[in-house]
Symmetry: C2
């Protein structure tokens, strides 16, 4: 096989088949995918389906703590998990720029395979397109996912059970992904020993649901950060939300970078952080369950739902003041995921 991707790799002919068997099947090898039919046929379970999709265009494609392939698995696993689903099946679709290194493609595909295996999800169908040089930026990956949801968890993504008094829990430090991406972009020049938090949270979320099926809302805090998720939630439930700034977990390195660049960690992207909203009397139980998981060791109760300040998020600042915070209009950083 040649060592770079050519337009013929996207033709659907013999050379496409060689790429599929030489790279994709080498790592994604499983009985369902091996059939290479137009659609894969899957067993259903006797409960509802969760279905989601995301395209990943992160720049750079390799960054501290992960790469575009790992991210494409974690992101979609998390979108299923926050809907109360057990993630089960993934599709993966590649758009690759002519001239892309096949060795880099293998690294990415291998990461995807490893992360899928850790999350317990199977890549069952896929697609590969190649575009001429300059027509895309190295590689874009879409993953779509299917999971199964038990009846009792069907409304977790809808927030219908959220009520004043419910506590907000986050499973760890904020902004790690955004600052890892920032630190790895060539045009910026600062030293920071910061890794993306890119991780599949399905096992952590299942642990939380196991001790507290009454969890009223879960959402991963990706683009837009925890602040945007809180704003969207306040607007959806038509209640207020108060966040206690001193409880927000932020690494010292991240805080330092935020101060230099004027970023607010509350609005920085994460790829391994969820907001979990729970009835007040269950908050400690859920917090303890999450802390048992390596991905939840820095978890904290960071705020609560309130009757006042309808549809607004209020930040109780470290200095003791209060200020309304609003969803930002645009991005602090583009192409973060």
């Amino acid at each position: 096989m040649e060592d770079i991707i050519t337009l013929n790799h996207g033709s659907g002919g013999r050379i496409t088949h060689e790429l599929i068997s030489g790279v994709f099947m080498k790592y994604f090898n499983n009985e369902k995918l091996n059939n290479l039919t137009d659609s894969v046929v899957l067993e259903t379970e006797n409960c509802s389906l969760a279905f989601t999709t995301d395209s990943y265009v992160v720049d750079p494609i390799f960054f501290p703590g992960g790469n575009i392939g790992k991210l494409a698995i974690c992101g979609t696993v998390n979108d299923l998990s926050v809907s109360g689903a057990i993630p089960k099946y993934l599709s993966s679709s590649f758009i690759i720029e002519e001239g892309f290194s096949i060795a880099d493609l293998e690294t990415i595909v291998k990461s995807m395979s490893e992360e899928a295996s850790m999350a317990g999800i199977t890549i069952v169908t896929g697609d590969t397109k190649v575009v001429p040089r300059g027509k895309c930026d190295k590689i874009f990956i879409n993953t779509s996912g299917i999971g199964f949801v038990k009846k009792e968890f069907e409304n977790i993504g809808n927030a219908v059970k959220v009520k004043p008094g419910d506590k907000l829990i986050v499973n760890g430090t904020l902004g790690d992904h955004a600052i890892a991406i920032l630190s790895s972009r060539e045009s910026l020049n600062f030293e920071a020993n910061i890794k993306s938090d890119c991780a599949s949270l399905n096992h952590l979320i299942q642990k939380a649901l196991a001790v507290c099926p009454e969890i009223s809302f879960i959402r991963d805090a990706t683009r837009g950060g925890l602040g945007t998720v809180a704003s969207e939630l306040a607007s959806k439930i038509k209640k207020g939300i108060i966040i206690d700034e001193k409880e927000l977990p932020v690494k010292e390195d991240i805080q330092a970078v935020c101060e230099i660049f004027g970023f607010d960690p509350l609005f920085l992207a994460n790829e391994g952080k969820v907001l979990i909203v729970v009835p007040a009397e269950k908050a400690d139980k859920v917090l303890n369950a999450i802390k048992q998981d390596a991905l939840g060791k820095d978890a904290a109760i960071i705020g609560e739902v309130i009757e006042e300040n309808h549809e607004k998020v209020v930040l109780k600042t470290i200095s003791g003041g209060k200020r309304l915070i609003d969803m930002p209009a645009g991005a602090q950083l583009p192409r973060i995921c």
Copy 2:
């Protein structure tokens, strides 16, 4: 709303929300999508699932007979349909270049909505990413699809029931999509009143299955054309396939262009053509059923499965000779879909 896409439209913040409600929800409006949760929760049916994905990168994005949006619906509907499934749910994920016209985006989204409605499939979840100018070519769309498959049709995509004597049927003329794309590329200059055959074939396929549940194989002949599908089938079933050149439906205009450019219609891309393999005694019945559908009026029986020439496709030429045909290594035309 501004009239072009900006990086902020991909930020996940307020401006992303405005794009979603102003363009996507305007056309894709349905109860499931309106929730805008990370995953949509769907009812299952008491049968197997079909699951498929495709990214669409066609160049140009508007072409005679369709656009990238219509294509993204038809292509995925067809991938589900050829697996014996009734297409039910679609995801749609957009990667858009900064500066792209919002009016063009609306045209594309409107086409998607219309085609989905004709095919009876619902767009239930989605994603939007924006990349800086020059980092993708206008717009790429991924659609992933879910359908439900009755037990009796589960193996139609696997070809396990195909046997010598089975007849090959195609539902109409070959090469229309490839030549429509070719004719609309700026760098080429020929007049041809040719439209892409881009269409959702689920209703036609269901008509065929209704009169003949014993259909042994269905596959849409897209990238690589009918010749590639036949080659893959011969290789999979370890039998030979004979195709009768004089029976191949090809429009006069297409034939003329093929002669000028040296293309073989057998290997040109289609976006509304399927190969259907049926037991010989049912071939006329299936042919007649297909011909009742507007998308099957030019259908023809074009060959059969034979015991000889294992894993090879033999073309019986118009002049009466026979020659082996092979899957092409690469593409006749790049970025056809």
